[in-house]
Amino acid sequence: MPHHTLSPRQYLILATVAICAPLGDTCLSRGMNTLPPISLAHPATLIAAVFTPWIAAGIALLIGFFASYLTALSWADLTFVLPATAFGNVIVALFARFWLHEAISLERWAGIALITLGVGFVAQGPSLTERPPAELSASETLKLDDSKHVETSTNAALVEKEPVR
């Protein structure tokens, strides 16, 4: 049975995706800005950049993001997960405003309002597209097989109870 409504645990996974992605990108940006310009003639310098502290921290956050993102994609549509997790941008902006005391322009407040509206829109709908039975996933087929076993064993029990004619 497809999941149309999310459990609190699934909301927590979406929140992890939303928070880790923008924080990871910010760390990457800070790390890359401290490096000299990299040219395509020396691609090995991009690999060396991976081992600098800010970029390593960014990669660690993005690994957390990726694990949560894969989990979310296993029970929700891509077109549900992407807008729903965009709320992370709003969290980072609010974090910058109220903790770092950065100024937020009218344009940015408008952006926050639009993202919040968009997330509200998508979160009210179903998280997964219904598929015909032929397209059921491996785990769902497994569950069906399990239920068949239960059904078969129940039938066998009934047959045992019936008197032999």
């Binding site: 991009l46 994609l73 296993s74 952006g111 926050i112 968009g118 769902e140």
Partner: protein, 131 residues
């Protein structure tokens, strides 16, 4: 020395590389995860090792990760040449729209009016927020 027009086209090219690689990677990864099934159920049934095994034995997943890695290195390259205030909103907002189109046509997801509206609102919102 590059002219302003060449600079604009190289910025467009770098952003396009990130968006295209990211969209292909996300669609392939989403298709892989759908073919594997609900990871929470697999973990409940076979434990964390079983869930990891289910993911790492799926070839489609590695194709997706390959394209996501390409998108990642394209992003690093773009960040090294362009401002974050241009790269981040452009890539994030364009990827939302290209993923909605790709989700509809390649993953056969039900992208109804609600999801289109959400994608467009978030796309404009991300642009305004990060510009």
């Amino acid at each position: 020395m590059t002219t302003p027009a060449q600079g604009v086209w190289s910025a467009v090219g770098m952003i396009a590389c990130v968006v295209v690689a990211s969209t292909i990677g996300e669609v392939l990864t989403a298709a892989a995860m759908k073919s594997i099934g609900d990871l929470d159920d697999i973990r409940a049934h076979s434990g964390l090792k079983g869930a990891i095994r289910a993911v790492v034995t799926c070839p489609l997943f590695f194709c997706g990760v390959g394209f996501l890695a390409l998108a990642f290195f394209s992003l690093l390259f773009a960040l090294n040449h362009l401002n974050l205030s241009l790269v981040a909103p452009a890539c994030a907002s364009l990827t939302l729209v290209t993923n909605a189109v790709a989700g509809k046509f390649f993953l056969k997801e039900n992208v109804d009016r609600r999801r289109w509206t959400a994608a467009v609102l978030v796309c404009i919102g991300v642009y305004l927020l990060a510009h």
